[in-house]
Symmetry: C3
Subunit: 150 residues, 3 copies
């Protein structure tokens, strides 16, 4: 049997770039959980009675924690969609340079979004613009994918 | 070197159908964010102090906004799972007509779910039935995938 | 034209193992929705006026329901990321035995997490440890993937 290399997916440089930036975004999303956890400890604001049991702390809601949770949920809403449409978009034969630019700007925009939302709060429209950048990129990739697979 | 076309995935018509309906569902999910944002502006109900800063509005919770957010979260819970299991299911050699029907009904059910939940509220069981339709389809695809890859 | 089998993805045993455990995790996540729904009925705690309309029950928040919802959201945050990074990691040529072990332990850890969070509440650090197990595995796979696709 002839050893065959899957030239259409694994050797596709756009797909490799997609894998790289998706992995970076996975690390970015993973960090939201310990950030929430540490902030819960810092402000002694836990969601469950068993979490603060040894310190005899009752559950309470803290705005610092909720802000990080909203940033995390916003990641789930926007980055989950990127994982899917970024993968499908790599199959529509975009140019390597253009696709790489889209993936790179999307990734940067999501880092900025979390920073101005949950790390160092910057007045609007900082958060709105970083969110909109990611939104436009995923929307564009979805449009191109629909046209391609119609 | 011989140019090889990846016949098993990219030329698989079920996979192409999956890409098409997934892209449609990405657009559907993307629309939930501006819908939430516009409803927040309409009812002046923001989640963060900086969002209503220029209008001097304090954050408040509004049920119209929360309803759209619940519909969005329901999308995240159900459509994210579809993206994964729909992809895996395409690799189990289903018939093109049957797989296309499943993807199409799932997509329609999720549009109906959002409509009766967050756009024009219809008495139950409208929402329960549209949710259950998607649930049964993803459950069926998961069952077939487990049997295939066992 | 020669019929070509895509040896690099579909015949990759690591990828087949990934498909199997991802499908199991899809079923696990799907079960969270009826669990939430049944608990809402049991404690008559609905999120929307139309849900309890025939029983004339107003919406109310119940901690038993919220606990299941937090477990579900934790699944979304952690298992969604696994779907993506597990897929990318299968493309980095890991050994079959090692990758299978990672997928298996991750899957077990997520079942344990839900059990000790929302089914039978066990004092900490039961939940923290089961969460951390999944976190370390996805973090490791992300690190290996970034190094591979750099």
């Amino acid at each position: 049997m002839v050893q065959i290399v899957d030239s259409s997916i694994l050797e596709n440089p756009v797909f490799r770039t997609y894998c790289f930036y998706s992995s970076i975004l996975v690390v970015k999303m993973l960090f939201m959980s310990p950030l929430t956890g540490l902030t819960r400890f810092r402000f002694k604001a836990f969601a469950n009675p068993e979490d603060g049991a040894t310190m005899k702390i009752k559950p309470r809601v803290d705005d610092k924690v909720e802000r990080i949770r909203r940033a995390h949920l916003n990641d789930l809403e926007n980055i989950s969609v990127f994982y899917v449409i970024g993968f499908i978009y790599t199959l529509t034969n975009p140019s390597v340079a253009w696709a790489t630019l889209l993936f790179r700007v999307f990734t940067a925009a999501r880092f900025i979004h979390t920073f101005v939302y949950a790390v160092f709060v910057v007045p609007q429209p900082a958060r709105a613009l970083s969110w909109a950048t990611g939104f436009v990129i995923t929307g564009y990739m979805a449009f191109k994918s629909i046209m391609h697979f119609l």
